[in-house]
């Protein structure tokens, strides 16, 4: 069983723009963005490798990781599936918080959105766009990527929250829990 999570309270970055609003976002410091028209419709469900992700609505559409706490519904969870990309590749710890107050770390590794290479960390390529948006033009020779990564929950019971890394190079578009079994 898969359970997509809403990231709506945490969305703090606009990484997708249309060609008529090229300067309307800024996935990185240079204002580059993904072309929204080449990605799933805003607010829809995108299935990547049998994992359904709630694709974000228009506007702020991803979480630039700054230690946000994402509540987890009750259940026994095996995996956290992560739809995301990084400004340069990065790996950092997600804190997994439990009902008894314990906290366990798990590695989250995410490849760079920019270079047109294979994933560095064995992720699934979720989307490869054909263009990159700059604030004042469309770059038709650059093909940014969004990756589907997964984070194991070594202790599956009693998880109440995930605390994302304090790492602004890491961007998360969607999270989906996978139940044990």
């Amino acid at each position: 069983m898969m359970r997509p999570l809403s990231l709506a309270p945490h969305l703090n970055n606009t990484g997708l723009t249309g060609e008529d609003e090229l300067d309307g976002g800024g996935f990185n410091i240079w204002g580059n963005t993904f072309p929204a028209g080449e990605l799933p419709p805003a607010g829809g469900t995108a299935v990547v490798g049998e994992v359904p992700f709630l694709f974000p609505v228009a506007g702020a559409d991803n979480v630039r990781c700054r230690g946000q706490r994402v509540d987890v519904p009750a259940g026994d969870w095996d995996w956290v599936h992560v739809l995301g990309a990084a400004e340069r590749r990065t790996e950092d710890l997600v804190e997994v918080h439990y009902a008894d107050g314990s906290v366990r770390g798990q590695w989250l590794r995410m490849s760079d959105f920019w270079p047109q290479t294979e994933p560095r960390f064995g992720e699934v390529l979720a989307f490869r766009c054909r263009h990159m948006h700059y604030p004042r033009h469309v770059q038709r020779t650059t093909s940014p990527a969004i990756w589907a990564q997964r984070v194991p929950l070594t202790v599956p019971s009693g998880v109440v929250a995930l605390v994302l890394p304090d790492n602004p190079a890491l961007h998360v578009f969607a999270l989906t829990l996978q139940a044990v079994g």
Binding site: G105, W107, F121, G122, P152, T154, V155, S157
Partner: protein, 94 residues
Amino acid sequence: MTAAQLTFSPCDLPLDGRLVEVGPGRYDWVHLHLSAPVGEAAVWLHYRDAVDPEFLRSLPGTPVARIGVPRRAELLAVELPVLPGVRLLGTALS
């Protein structure tokens, strides 16, 4: 898959930092039957093209630990932690 549903291949090895080979393949979990519960230790997953640290933790109240295998890549071996007095009694892959 729960620990009770697993069939462990028996062994008896010290946790002394050794490399334990697995049948090369793509897996979700490496399950370890240990001689005693382990709170937390680092293990290294050796893939064909990469080596990553991951966490080894026993399921609460049991001597069974499970290690997630995040990469969609061929796993070749698990580098065990150094934990004097703890032994590996069986492995299972899923």
